[in-house]
């Protein structure tokens, strides 16, 4: 029997009445790559937090190197050789690689010895083929390299077990291959790797063993060699995963409503984020925009709604040039609605009551205000109506929106953006952080608006959601649209290639 580096027996964790983990067994072989699979809410994050000492289990035991032990804190975990790589990197942008690695390292004495540390880091980096210059500031490095700095951090502290949380969710497709290579090299060096994911192809490529979690319970633990991707998917979801498209009436599309030609804009850092984007959207059509986060999708939504100015290019709605129009006019005159990605930072004012958030974008317009004076009666009546029709659960209209659940907040935003009878609706990451029921409600609302003849732009990183509702899918990479496909053409290989920057014409 091969050496078990880490063994969890019957571990449970409760949050109040909620059983996040229910008698979980985990057996991780030394020097292997072990994947933990599961959907959102399956318990992966909780399990990982226990592994690296952030939470303590309510039941069960943890054995490290065959000895029963406790992981009391993340700091102690590192001492015990357990290193954690978070999804959001713990790196200080303005400091160099070396400075980040030695941050908080005990035993450094009065003065930093950055030169020595840098030399050691270079060597370590070379051993693993990471190719990192220790004197470079983090902000200059691409995401893939930053992740490697995180790995170097834990290796520098002599980690034997390296835990990664959804490591490829922030990487571009071409960086993913490099990352998986890096994992293989860690395995060759005798390290034990545990990684949390829901990407089956990656597991198939580098994984040795998998543990599948569903609703806090282990539904399977097996060798990768003994199973297939399809079976793994079934173990994750509990049924055969079929791309099921929702009911979409086959009405013909209307006129072209939105016409964008050669849009160019730059982001807050001054870097060009849109490099000549062109597309059309017809009435009653949903155009999806897929792609890894950070390839210009946010800027695209912002130039369409007027929050960001275009550098060049033309934008027309129903033939009318809207490039000079302000945000306010685009909403009220032209009729462009926007459900933003960030509910809390953009879409809502958390410390305002529900009623105020309902009128957030329309407060200057009758019936919500007359001659500058807010009409509380009308506001409450209409807001109350929306709350009922969209099933927003709350205690009262005066409640601060901060206290509503994510799903209910999103329903409120949708109500606001849809009830004003717009011509164009832009939604960005509409299902982020929502549970299955809320996701269904969102998708249904989007399809309803499609049936009403609106032109809809649906931006999301979740391919499944896009393919569920969209009529065409545009893929963005590095500020350009690399291709526009129909759902049937949108196989993982083609989308993956487009996301990775390989434009349609280049695909053989």
């Amino acid at each position: 029997m091969t050496n078990l580096k880490l063994q969890l027996k019957q571990v449970s964790k409760l949050f109040g009445d909620f059983k996040a983990l229910d008698n979980v067994d985990l057996n991780v072989v030394e020097g292997s790559i072990h994947a933990i699979l599961g959907e959102n809410g399956a318990g992966k994050t909780t399990l990982m937090n226990i592994l690296y000492g952030l939470y303590q289990p309510d039941g069960g035991t943890i054995k490290l190197n065959g000895k029963e032990t406790v992981v009391p804190s993340p700091r102690k975990a590192m001492d015990m050789g357990i290193g954690m790589i978070h999804q959001h990197f713990m790196l200080v942008d303005s400091l160099t690689v070396a400075e980040n690695v030695v941050l908080g390292l005990p035993g450094q004495g009065m003065q930093l010895s950055l030169e020595d540390d840098a030399a050691k880091l270079s060597q370590l980096s070379e051993t693993y083929g990471f190719d990192i210059d220790p004197h470079v500031e983090i902000w200059k490095l691409p995401i893939g390299m930053r992740q490697r700095v995180e790995i170097l951090k834990v290796l520098y502290r002599d980690a034997d077990i390296i835990i990664l949380d959804e490591p490829t969710s922030v990487l571009a497709p071409n960086e993913i291959a490099n990352f998986l290579d890096g994992l293989k090299r860690l395995r060759e060096a005798g390290k034990t790797v545990i990684f949390i994911t829901h990407k089956l192809e990656e597991v198939a490529e580098v994984g040795d063993r998998i543990t599948v979690l569903r609703h806090g319970k282990v539904t399977a633990e097996t060798n990768v060699a003994d199973t297939t991707a399809k079976e793994m998917a079934r173990m994750m979801v509990g049924r055969d995963v079929v791309l099921d498209m929702m009911e979409k009436p086959d009405t013909p599309f209307g006129d072209v409503i939105v016409s964008a030609r050669d849009l160019r804009a730059h982001n807050n850092r001054g870097i060009e984020a849109l490099k000549g984007v062109s597309f059309d959207i017809r009435a009653g059509e949903i155009l999806g925009v897929a792609g890894v986060d950070g390839n210009g999708q946010a800027e695209l939504a912002e130039v369409l709604t007027g929050i960001r100015n275009l550098d060049s290019g033309s934008l027309t709605v129903h033939g009318e040039d809207i490039t000079e129009k302000l945000v306010y006019d685009r909403r009220h005159e032209i009729g462009i609605s926007f459900v933003p990605e960030d509910r809390h930072e953009t879409g809502l004012v958390l410390d305002f009551p529900v009623s105020h958030n309902a009128i957030l974008r329309d407060f200057k317009v009758p019936p919500y205000s007359k001659n500058g004076i807010l009409q509380k009666g009308a506001i409450n009546k209409i807001a109350g109506d929306w709350v009922e029709r969209y099933d927003v659960r709350l205690r009262s209209l005066d409640q601060h929106v901060r206290f509503l659940s994510g799903g209910n907040q999103q329903k409120l935003i949708f109500a606001r953006e849809v009830e004003c009878d717009p011509r164009v609706i832009i939604v960005m990451q509409p299902c982020k952080g929502l549970d299955v029921g809320a996701i269904e409600a969102v998708q249904r609302t989007v399809l309803e608006q499609r049936a009403k003849g609106k032109a809809i732009l649906y931006i999301s990183t979740e391919l499944e959601h896009i393919l569920n509702v969209c009529d065409r899918v545009a893929v963005m990479c590095a500020g350009e649209i690399t291709g526009i496909l129909s759902p049937e053409e949108a196989t993982s290989e083609r989308i993956g290639a487009l996301m990775g920057g390989i434009k349609d014409e280049e695909v053989a």
């Binding site: 790196l91 942008d93 400091l95 400075e99 941050l103 908080g104 390292l105 450094q108 930093l112």
Partner: protein, 312 residues
């Protein structure tokens, strides 16, 4: 202008510039420390005043300038603790907390000064007098300017490079810089964000207090109400212009010292021109400098934001 023709006048002018910039230097370096850790410190003004008050009281009660120094540092440190308690502990808006400290210091020092110093308020206090460094002080022009100064000035010569070394060459300085930019990373590395911030704030206020001690113990040897007269705010402008770097802040302070010395000289030479036009110069200079040069400068990324653990 005689400073360009007469060596004595030049020496005089440079010496005055240095003396005028010293309280601001102390405060600005302190400000750099605090703001680098992510906490705005507009209480520098109040801490200069508090330090001055403490120095006067301490020197008065103990008869020794060192006694003044100790009490001055304690008072400023106390103000720093309150600021840290409000801004870091309770998480109140850092700017509001700083202003509150300033108002508190003005009121407390005015009242307590009259109470403790009472009738003796105008008599000269024991202080630090210039001690020439043999040899170095004989160098023409810069000799008397730099090397015939008092204890606190020499302390300042050490403080500025020490602050630079601390911030860039020690693990604690690294912690401070990390916390000011991205506290989550420091927290996950096991560093206590509230502890480091509190220490930075208290140290920063104590440094500003040193500036106040200098005013009383090395410059005027007496305490007057409101004697900080806006120096704490000029220090703030200096640290912004110096891009939150101790050396940069130091240079900016020297610049303000020059402008202050210049306006005094101009005032002296043109007694008919109203003095206000001149006394406005440091503030006007700070204002213009900020408007024209600081527009594009970025403070530490996490400054002013209350750090709450548990955010994703």
């Amino acid at each position: 202008m005689d400073i360009f023709t007469n060596l004595n006048a030049l020496t005089d002018f440079l010496a005055t510039s240095l003396r005028l910039s010293i309280p601001i230097i102390f405060a600005a370096v302190g400000g750099v420390l605090s703001e680098r850790s992510g906490v705005f410190n507009i209480a520098l003004e109040g801490c200069i005043l508090g330090g001055a008050f403490g120095a006067a009281v301490g020197a008065f009660l103990t008869g020794m300038p060192m006694g003044g120094l100790v009490i001055g540092l304690l008072v400023a440190g106390g103000a720093g603790l309150i600021l840290a308690g409000l801004a870091v502990g309770l998480g109140i808006n850092q700017l509001v907390a700083g202003i509150a400290i300033n108002i508190l210091m003005v009121g407390l020092t005015s009242f307590l000064a009259r109470l403790i110093l009472g009738a003796e308020a105008t008599s000269t206090l024991p202080g630090f007098h210039p001690m020439a460094i043999p040899g170095l002080s004989a160098i023409p022009v810069i000799g008397p300017v730099l090397f015939n100064q008092d204890f606190l000035t020499y302390l300042m010569y050490l403080t500025v490079p020490f602050a630079w070394w601390f911030l860039y060459k020690t693990p604690w300085g690294l912690n401070v810089r990390a916390i000011g930019d991205y506290p989550i990373a420091a927290d996950s590395a096991g560093i206590s964000v509230p502890l480091v911030r509190t220490a930075a704030v208290v140290a920063s206020c104590m440094l500003a207090g040193l500036g106040g001690c200098y005013l009383v113990l090395s410059q005027v040897f007496v305490f007057t109400e409101h004697m900080s007269a806006g120096k704490g705010f000029i220090a703030l402008a200096a640290l912004i212009l110096g891009r939150w770097n101790p050396l940069g802040a130091f240079l900016a302070c020297i610049f303000f010292g020059f402008s202050d010395a210049l306006q005094l000289r101009l005032q002296f030479n043109s007694p008919d021109v109203p003095y206000q036009l001149f006394s406005m110069v440091p503030f006007l200079a700070s204002f213009l400098a900020l408007v024209f040069f600081a527009g594009k400068v970025r403070p530490p990324a996490a400054i002013g934001i209350k750090y709450v653990r548990g955010g994703k």
